[in-house]
Symmetry: C2
Subunit: 190 residues, 2 copies
DNA sequence: TAGGCTTAAGAATAGAAGTTCTCGAATAGG
DNA sequence: CCTATTCGAGAACTTCTATTCTTAAGCCTA
């Protein structure tokens, strides 16, 4: 039997997320990917086949771990509190880094059908989860029955993407927190 | 005296905006830029010096024309109507294309200080213009004096960036229109 | 009309980047 | 302990791409 691999795929994924966040897909060169992931070229191409296939895997990992953890806040908490928790976690995730999925959409969305599909799925899921949270908030009498739930969910969904863009630019997150408080406050006043 | 150039710089800029929107900065190759702008290599490098310097020029042009036209809606109309008009025009601008400035921020923001500066300036201006519109709406008694103007402006600013991302993914703009109506409706209820 | 200067077009170049290949080293079973 | 097999490191290769260079043609002035 041969020697065992020295790399850990979870570590590789984490490092790769950082590299792609910093430089984008085309801006990230294989030399840096190999170096920072403590991988080796041979193993890389045996494991993933190509840089593009690698991106898809990293994106999948990013969704299944980081984004999933944030979205689960919507299920783990009750009503409006769930949405507050979501934004709290999301801010921690994207602060000063941005969102890998959003970056892929803006860089590759026009050319890559698969990226668009992944993006639409994510947006849809986000919206569905917001709707569920809002409905539970209505049931718990935290929100008025007159709340236009689907429209509010759409609004929140769009706002989340804007968050990811602004997070790349702003130094401190105080402003983003304030804007979010206001947004959620206005939702509560239906 | 020599012959006159055959290209028109305005045309070149317009075409370049499309190319960069479709492929991003690194994804856009000089061959396509040259071909689609009806430019020529020699003239290109005499005029701009490099692909990167060209991007800055295109981005400046994009701001001074397309984004400026949209932002001017905030000055040309009164109160809340101004903000409605803004989103109407912005939706037309980014629908199915996205925003060149947002795309540059997400693709190059981490590596390029100049892009970050341009992005921050844009965000600041957007916020200042929103604040001015909201203040006028309060003066005209369209909004309550209790409206937290700065926080609402922050919220709108973030929402605009999300718009630009979603616009790349969604086919029809009906959903985005609904979300915006809801957002502006909730602002009016302070 | 002739000449000089600039343009357009694209070939050429130099360097970068994704992918493949080579080879010595390490590991686990026989 | 030997050997088969896989790994790690990086050289090599090939393709791609930004930039420069060459050449022929056009335009304005004298």
């Amino acid at each position: 039997m041969p020697r065992a691999p020295m790399y850990d795929l979870d570590d590789v994924m984490h490092q790769a997320i950082d590299v792609f966040l910093e430089h984008g897909f085309h801006g990230a060169v294989m030399d840096e990917i190999i170096a920072r992931t403590d991988f080796n070229r041979r193993g890389f191409y045996l494991e993933f086949g190509s840089k593009q296939a690698f991106l898809y895997r990293v994106l999948e990992y990013y969704q299944n771990t980081q984004l999933h953890d944030v979205l689960s806040a919507l299920e783990q908490h009750q009503g409006i509190q769930a949405i507050h928790k979501f934004f709290e976690r999301y801010l921690d995730l994207v602060q000063g880094r941005g969102c890998l999925l959003v970056n892929c959409i803006t860089e590759l969305g026009h050319d890559d059908e698969k990226i668009r599909d992944i993006g639409r799925h994510y947006i849809d899921r986000l919206q569905i989860d917001f709707i569920a949270s809002l409905e539970r908030a209505v049931s718990a009498h935290e929100l008025s029955k007159d709340t236009p739930i689907e429209a509010v969910a759409l609004q929140l969904t769009s706002y989340v993407q804007g968050f990811a863009v602004n997070a790349i630019l702003v130094q401190d997150n105080q402003e983003l927190r304030i804007a979010t408080q206001t947004l959620l406050g206005s939702v509560s006043r239906y």
